[in-house]
Each structure stands twice: as structure tokens, then as C-alpha cells.
Point group: C2
Chain length 267, copies 2
């Protein structure tokens, strides 16, 4: 029995999220991958993702694992699944992992990026791929608000209503603002884990801060309140990208270090 780790990218616009669902919900990433891998391995494959992503959310480096008795090589898994998958989903890498590797339980952290479009009019080539905020936001205020989110905190105020998880405490290693293109900015978040809608809720609050409707100074108290109703609107799925899942402490530390101080040129 072999245990495979695969790294996956997808364009979430026409997908009903990561998790396999009843067919009427539309194609899901897990469903499409399981169908392709089951055909390739000649037996039903159950895929374990590092976590779910919602409908409309993209991935540059989602990770999943599965076990198989098939004799397929790494190269056959990559090429075979990409031939069977629709254009919206692709396997970027595959590797044989230790027996005890599990995409979710072995993960040390994740990085999410959120793309913000600042052009005066909407841009068709960013439709479904960035949140169009327009010009005129106070990005210095947004950058000043970011440290308040960093550290080990109870993020209950940034969890979608109705979620049920054991603990809402997470460690956010770094939140950073950088320029990603002539008309786009990127908010990046590296953390030990994220609650459902947590990134989109933080981005929604940060946009309110940039618009002057929320002061950076009030954010610590707002986090402490644990009250989702006080923490602003949820940003749309369009701009959200699962950028990477970390299984190696050095790689995680390296990415945290690389994010530090990126916003300097914007302010």
C-alpha cells in the first residue's frame, strides 16, 4: 500500500468548492479528483484534503493524500489525472509520502492570499478572481491594522455564523499587504489554521478600515468581543486563493520571514 501526496491547483469560479457533495450542487474539486484517480488506480479512491475551500475560492497549492495498491508511478498519476480532469483542476505535483502522512492532520500551517482590485472601473480579466474595491482606500490604515490580527488569538469574531468547531483559537503568524500588479494589491495570511470564512471576514473588516468606516485602533477590542456581528462584512470568495499548505517547519518559517515588511513600498 502506497500513500501519495498530491498538490493541486484550481480555478474555483465554476466549482462548488472542495468537498464532494450530492451531484446537483455542481462539480467539486474532491469529486473530480476522486473520479480521475479511481479510474487511474482501478479502485475507488478516497481523497483527504488539507481542508475545505468554499465555492468560488481558488487554489494555487491545495494538498491532498490518498492510499492505493496500484502500481502507478508518480509521473503516471500526474499525467493521467491531468488528462482526465477538466481545465478547471490540475495536479501540479505528486510524491510518495510516509505511511503516516495525512494531508489534514500532518499540516503545520497554510497560506491564503486575497487579491484586491483598485482600478476606477471594473476589469473583465479579473472577474471572479479579485475583489474590486476601486481607488481611494487608505492602504496605510489597512497596513497599520494588520499586526492586531497576528499571534495566538480566539478568532470567534471571524467565523461564519453557525460553524461548529471545538476551539476557535488559531495562531496567525503573519498578515501582510503587498503590490501584486499595476492595479492589484494582495493581502497574505500565514497561520496554523483558519476557521471557516476567517480570511474573508478579516479582509471584509480590513476593507472597512481602508474606507475609513472602521478604525485600526478598535480592532483588538473587536477581536476580543468574539462577536461576528461586530466584525463587518464577509469579502466575496472571488479574490481568495489557497496559496500553500506547509508540512515542513523550515519552509513555513521561511515564508513567514519572506512576508515581513512587504508593504513598505505602498505607504
Amino acid at each position: 500500500m502506497k500513500n501519495f501526496k498530491i498538490t493541486v491547483s484550481y480555478d474555483g469560479r465554476r466549482l462548488a468548492g472542495w468537498q464532494r457533495q450530492a451531484e446537483e450542487a455542481g462539480p467539486t474539486v474532491q469529486g473530480l479528483l476522486e473520479t480521475a484517480l479511481s479510474r487511474l488506480c482501478d479502485h475507488p479512491v478516497t481523497l483527504h484534503g488539507s481542508g475545505r475551500t468554499d465555492a468560488g475560492v481558488h487554489a494555487l497549492g491545495q494538498v491532498a493524500s490518498f492510499t492505493t495498491d496500484s502500481a502507478r508511478t508518480v509521473a503516471q498519476i500526474i499525467q493521467g489525472s491531468n488528462a482526465l480532469l477538466p481545465p478547471e483542476v490540475a495536479v501540479l505535483r505528486a510524491e510518495e509520502a510516509p505511511e503516516d502522512f495525512h494531508a489534514r492532520f500532518s499540516a503545520l500551517g497554510k497560506r491564503y492570499d486575497y487579491e484586491l482590485l483598485t482600478s476606477p472601473t471594473r476589469r473583465p480579466l479579473y472577474h471572479g478572481r479579485a475583489w474590486w474595491l476601486g481607488p481611494g482606500l487608505d492602504w496605510a490604515a489597512v497596513a497599520a491594522a494588520l499586526p492586531a490580527f497576528e499571534g495566538e488569538k480566539d478568532f470567534a469574531a471571524f467565523q461564519s455564523v453557525g460553524s461548529e468547531v471545538g476551539s476557535t483559537v488559531r495562531r496567525l503568524h503573519r498578515a501582510a499587504l503587498s503590490r501584486s500588479g499595476p492595479e492589484t494589491l494582495r493581502l497574505s495570511f500565514i497561520g496554523s489554521g483558519f476557521l471557516r470564512h476567517m480570511v474573508r471576514a478579516m479582509v471584509g473588516l480590513l476593507a472597512e478600515t481602508g474606507r475609513g468606516r472602521q478604525s485600526a485602533a478598535s480592532i483588538p477590542e473587536l477581536i476580543a468581543s468574539g462577536d461576528r456581528r461586530r466584525s463587518g462584512p464577509t469579502a466575496p470568495a472571488d479574490g481568495l486563493y489557497l496559496a500553500a499548505v506547509f508540512y515542513d517547519a523550515d519552509e513555513l518559517a521561511g515564508q513567514v520571514a519572506a512576508l515581513t515588511g512587504q508593504a513598505a513600498d505602498l505607504l
Copy 2:
């Protein structure tokens, strides 16, 4: 009577090209814009584009012009048409132009960019937006081939078969290769005008050069032959972007100068 110049962007993936057609061909950029502008101006509007783009081709700065008796302001034209247009098309700018301005006849030149994806596996977020060539091409050979296309030449060998135009002589001011992202390269072309499929035919031949199937040294003779059958495959529409249309000689010269020497870091 006012003469308006508008600058338009579109994502060509689900559009049947620029030119208005019978409805069964699918929505066209000209058709969508004329419908929106006619509603906005309360009379049938005829739009003159700088030129056609084919199905699947994108635009960052297509230009078109129309005349109207309507009292609509520039701001109303931008906001009103963007509210009426689907997400695939947007008006970026509008301005009142001199009476004799015509988007096609007044144009001094155009810039096209072509995006090439060099990753080892396909990338869902570039589907329909770049040509996936994979790694391992000889980009130094591609860069070395570019000067052969520059200057005033008969480009009959790079015209789609069956095209009928008066002259196939065009001036290509500059062809350049640059890095556009971690896994993408860009071929940029600024010229006085382009024949139908000319950029895609040049890119197809350049890809053959990068793959070692065509020598850079043979390109001048191939251009001189005027024979489309000898000049290689046509690159797909996916990677092609109409980047800008120039109506000002200084702006054109500035963009030509900015393209010069960009490939140095790739070689």
C-alpha cells in the same frame, strides 16, 4: 453631434470575437457594446472599432468610436455602459474626441501581447489566457529570432489563408520577449498594423524556434517567401491580448522605447 472615443477591455473566452454577427454565433464585443450604448443614448449606435479581434482573443485596451446627439456625459457613458454590460466586457475610459477622430482610420499603431506558460504541468488559473508550452524551450533562440520580424516587410507569410487585403506590407516597430510572471513569458509586438492571425502566426513560428524545429537564421528567407504553408502553426487565441491602440506619435515612440532590451534578464 458629439464624437466619443471609448477604451474597452474584455475577456475573450466566452465571446465570439469583436465583430457583430448573426446571433447564433454567440455574443460579440461590438454587439454587446452597441446594445448598451444604444440603450444609454436612446438611439441606435454604430460603433467603429480600431480593428477586429477573433473569438477567444482578449483586450486590455481596445479602442472604438461612435457619434451621438445624446446629452450623456463621459462619466454617464462609462458608468451606464458598465452597468448594462456583462462581466466579460467593460468600458475603461471615455472621452469626447475631435469630429474627425475614427478609431480605425486615426490609429497610428497597436500593441499586442502574447502570454506563454512554461510550467511543467498545465495551470487551471491560466486556462484560456496563456498558451501552455511547458519548460525546456530555448528562449535565447526565440529572442535571437525577434529582430528578423522588425521593420517594414511584406508579412504575407503570416496572414491567415483566404484573407483579402490590399497590401500585406506592415511595419513592425518592435518585437520583444520579457518575463511576465514566475511561470509566464510575454511576447510583445508593436506595429503600424497587423494582418489577420499575423501575431498568432509569428508566435507559432517562434515556438517552433524555441523547440529547435526552426532555426532563427532561416526566418528572413521564410518571411521573404510569402508562403503561409512554410511559416509554421498558428498559436491559439488563448494567449493573445490587444494591449493598446496608439493615436499619439509620442506615446507610440515611448512604448517602442520601453520594450527595447527587455529580454536581457532571460538569457
